[in-house]
């Protein structure tokens, strides 16, 4: 019996390595083009295209982006701030919601699930939302506009609900209740520590949402010191596409136009820091947080 298991495990592992390595190569190749593009001169990109190693190594793409380091550093700061505040707040609210929505003895849970899910189906469109944010909530030009709209998404709440449901057996909640623990205490003492992989996943996704957000800046922020990083870079690129569309109409702008190599450098600049988040999150993807450990 043991032998059989071993041989199957060996094949399985071999298959696993092959597939994972192939997948990694497939993912990394285009990325290498971007990386090498960011270190190439714009001229060589246009005349001879992209290569896995830069034809003539140069830092020009990065130089333009960091020409005024205080601006991009501030944009980094804004993004880090909104990501941290938004993710912690959102995570707190969503874990609570996910916990409540999976409680079997809470009869209205399906109603509220539907209430939340419904918002993914229907939306009023941009105009009323814009009015709400600027006129009624008065979030224009403030950090609230960058944090508030992304606090929770139906998808992440339901995902949280499912993670909790699959890791916390109903019996634990039942027995804790019999022991006299209140609903909040069960959430705080049992559910939170046990759902760490789920929380880490949802937290990662929420953080990514904040990190990648540029739309809130585009709509609600006028003060350039409050631009998020993605928007700051995206906007530089958009100047180029604007010129392409309207330059022919006689609109003249001073200053440089971003180049191919700069675009590549920008995407590297955006990816850099958030990549470090992932290994950090991985710490929570560990088995062994078994039920017995907590109960005992």
């Amino acid at each position: 019996m043991k032998v059989r298991d071993d041989s199957s495990a060996k094949w399985f592992k071999l298959l696993a390595y092959v597939v994972v390595i192939l997948g990694c190569i497939f993912c990394v190749l285009p990325f290498l083009l971007i990386l090498s593009g960011s270190f190439s001169s714009n001229e060589s990109l246009i005349t001879s295209g992209y290569h896995f190693l830069p034809r003539d190594f140069t830092l020009d793409g990065y130089k333009i982006i960091f020409e005024l380091p205080q601006e991009i550093l501030r944009a980094y700061g804004v993004t880090i701030f909104t990501t941290v505040v938004g993710t912690t707040t959102g995570l707190f609210l969503m874990t609570m919601a996910g916990y409540v929505l999976q409680r079997k003895d809470f009869k209205s849970r399906n109603f509220f699930s539907f209430f939340i899910y419904f918002t993914t189906l229907f939306g009023g469109g941009l105009v009323p939302w814009y009015l709400l944010m600027t006129k009624y909530l008065k979030f224009g030009d403030s950090y609230y506009a960058l944090i508030f709209p992304g606090l929770m998404t139906p998808f992440l709440i339901i995902l949280m609900r499912s993670f909790i449901k699959s890791t916390i057996p109903d019996e634990i909640v039942e027995s804790s209740k019999i022991d006299g623990a209140g609903d909040f205490k069960i959430y705080y003492r049992i559910v939170l520590p046990l759902s760490l992989p789920g929380i880490a996943t949802v937290g990662l996704f929420l953080a990514l949402n904040y990190w990648n957000d540029w739309f809130s800046s585009a709509l609600f922020i006028n003060d350039s010191s409050k631009f998020q990083l993605q928007f700051y870079l995206y906007n530089i690129m958009n100047t180029a596409s604007f010129l392409a569309t309207f330059g022919g109409g006689g609109v003249s702008l001073s200053g440089g136009v971003p180049t191919e190599s700069m675009k590549m450098a920008m995407s590297i600049v955006v990816i850099g820091p958030i990549l470090f988040l992932y290994p950090f999150i991985q710490r929570y993807f560990v088995k062994g947080l078994t039920i017995g450990a907590v109960k005992g």
Binding site: N110, A218, Y234, S241, S252, G255, G256, V257
Partner: protein, 530 residues
């Protein structure tokens, strides 16, 4: 089964609840609409009651703050300029102003949103390419006719009467036009050093341009003869219509009229002329004058291609942009030469930009239209305001040497580059400063001045409410069936054109064209153009 029943009950409850919420929101929304409607005219009436404004004088007893909106990105030193302007404006008009910029990301979306949700905006940029005509027609701006003598007398005198008349929409003035005269007409751009090297003809019309392309193709295997932008309708078709067919303007929906005979408007789409033109483009593509994949190329590369030397010419670009490309190319390759030949010299007439091209309007939601106009007058007519908002601080951001403007320091790092606030609309020819590199453009303009004729097309404001659906559908049909034809990607041109026409007709082309023509003729009659 039972469970299923329960779901539907929950569903019912949810729907009731959401409807309730919507209804509640609707009520509050409605209330607010009424509120704004009620408060809007109020200030005007109280003002006239407490301090009757004399025709010449402006009541400036109350301090107000103005929201000023411009497109694009703010210069870095905006805050300093704003503070300086506010010192002056506070004293002159008892106002302060906040300069806001939309950035270039989604600016059109933001522009739409601000105007349609009644944001408190006091002054906003207008142009033909921001759809001034449509917005004005739909009531987004305040008419300035009565306001001008009250709060903008100097402006009213500065801008010539024919320009005021040219920006009228339905008989009313909705924007303050810029008085600086420029040309954004197109012209051939080509590498002169290569032309000399291979003894090619100078491109002045389509046949000579073709000969030039042929020569480049034959002699330079690695250089693309002409750089064409991905928006082929503009970069190929409209260029050709401008140089070879004297089109009155860039008329939409495939309609066509010449400048000399504007009342005779016919359909270019589906005509023998279009077939001929499409065959020409096909020929260019087949011969490899431009990329087979032009539809997927990003436009901006077009300029880069000239600068890098991967392409030898452009079918058409305006004098300003030519100058920009020239400067950049010279910086990278001092031994190359670039030449320009304006289409108007071949056509025999040149139309300067229409007054609608650059202007400032006061949106309907403005609470202080009088003060806004008075402030804008300062921006245009007061030299201190004008220079500061166009060029920044003298000695810090720029200097004037031998009468030429010069940026201090690196241009891309400047806190306030030339026209850093994109002040195209409040340019005042009397105070304008030009860099030395601009001499070439001014020389072209001077030449074009000799054959100047007015733009008779841009003043026309189309009202498309009648055929909105068809218009939107046509937009797609053109991209799907016409653009590949223009890009030379359909083997059988005749057949391709037939397919396009049948799809376009199905989308309602005839209705759109008919209605458009009717409006156009009415406009011509109203303007007395024959």
């Amino acid at each position: 089964m039972q469970m299923y029943k329960k779901t539907s009950k929950w569903l019912g409850l949810a729907i009731i609840l959401s409807m309730l919420i919507v209804a509640l929101a609707a009520c509050s929304g409605n209330k607010n609409n009424n509120e704004t409607a009620a408060t809007n005219p109020a200030p005007a009436s109280t003002e006239s009651a407490t301090a009757p404004a004399t025709p010449e004088g402006l009541d400036i007893s109350k301090h107000v703050n103005l929201e000023f909106w411009m497109l694009g990105d703010a210069p870095r030193d905006l805050k300093k300029v704003q503070d300086e302007i506010n010192k002056m404006a506070e004293e002159d008009l008892n106002v302060t102003v906040k300069f806001n910029f939309t950035t270039w990301t989604d600016w059109d979306q933001k522009y739409k949103l601000m105007l349609s949700t009644g944001q408190p905006v006091d002054l906003i940029f207008t142009a033909d390419w921001t759809q001034y005509q449509s917005y004005a027609k739909m009531g987004a701006f305040l008419p300035l006719d009565d306001l001008l003598p009250k709060a903008g007398l100097k402006l009213q005198e500065l801008v010539p009467q024919n320009m005021w008349d040219a920006v009228r929409i339905n008989g009313k003035i909705y924007t303050v036009p810029a008085t600086y005269k420029e040309y954004v007409t197109n012209g051939f751009v080509w590498r002169e050093d290569l032309r000399k090297k291979y003894n090619l003809p100078k491109p002045v019309d389509v046949p000579s341009f073709e000969a030039y392309l042929e020569g480049i193709k034959k002699n330079e295997a690695n250089i693309q003869p002409v750089a064409i932008g991905a928006g082929v309708q503009d970069s190929l078709q409209n260029m050709l219509l401008e140089i070879a067919r004297n089109e009155v303007g860039q008329v939409p929906y495939g309609m066509f009229a010449t400048y000399d005979d504007p009342t005779n408007m016919t359909s270019y789409w589906g005509s023998p002329e279009q077939l001929e033109d499409l065959k020409l483009f096909k020929k260019w593509m087949d011969k490899g004058y431009f990329s087979k994949n032009v539809l997927n190329e990003q436009n901006i590369i077009q300029m880069d291609k000239i600068i890098n030397g991967t392409a030898a010419s452009m079918f058409g670009d305006n004098p300003n942009r030519f100058n920009e490309i020239l400067t950049k190319m010279k910086a990278a390759h001092p031994d190359w030469e670039l030449e320009y030949y304006p289409f108007p010299l071949t056509k025999g007439y040149a139309t300067p930009v229409h007054p609608i091209h650059n202007g400032f309007a006061i949106p309907k939601a403005s609470k202080n239209p009088e003060r806004a106009l008075a402030f804008y007058e300062k921006m245009v007519t007061d030299k201190r305001y004008n220079l500061l908002t166009q060029y920044g601080f003298e000695g810090v951001n720029y200097k004037v040497e031998n009468g030429y403007y010069e940026t201090i320091g690196e241009e891309s790092a400047s806190g306030f580059p030339r026209e850093g606030m994109h002040g195209w609309a409040w340019r005042n020819p009397e105070y304008m400063l030009f860099p030395a590199s601009y001499d070439g453009v001014n020389a072209i303009f001077k030449e074009l001045d000799k054959i100047e004729k007015p733009d008779i097309y841009t003043g026309f404001a189309e009202n498309y409410t009648e055929y909105q659906a068809e218009r939107a559908a046509l937009e797609q049909v053109a991209k799907q069936y016409l653009w590949p034809l223009i890009a030379g990607r359909i083997d059988d041109v005749e057949d391709g054109l037939k397919t396009f026409m049948s799809k376009a007709n199905q989308a309602g082309l005839e209705k759109v064209q008919e209605e458009y023509k009717k409006q156009w003729l009415a406009y011509l009659q109203e303007q007395g153009i024959k």
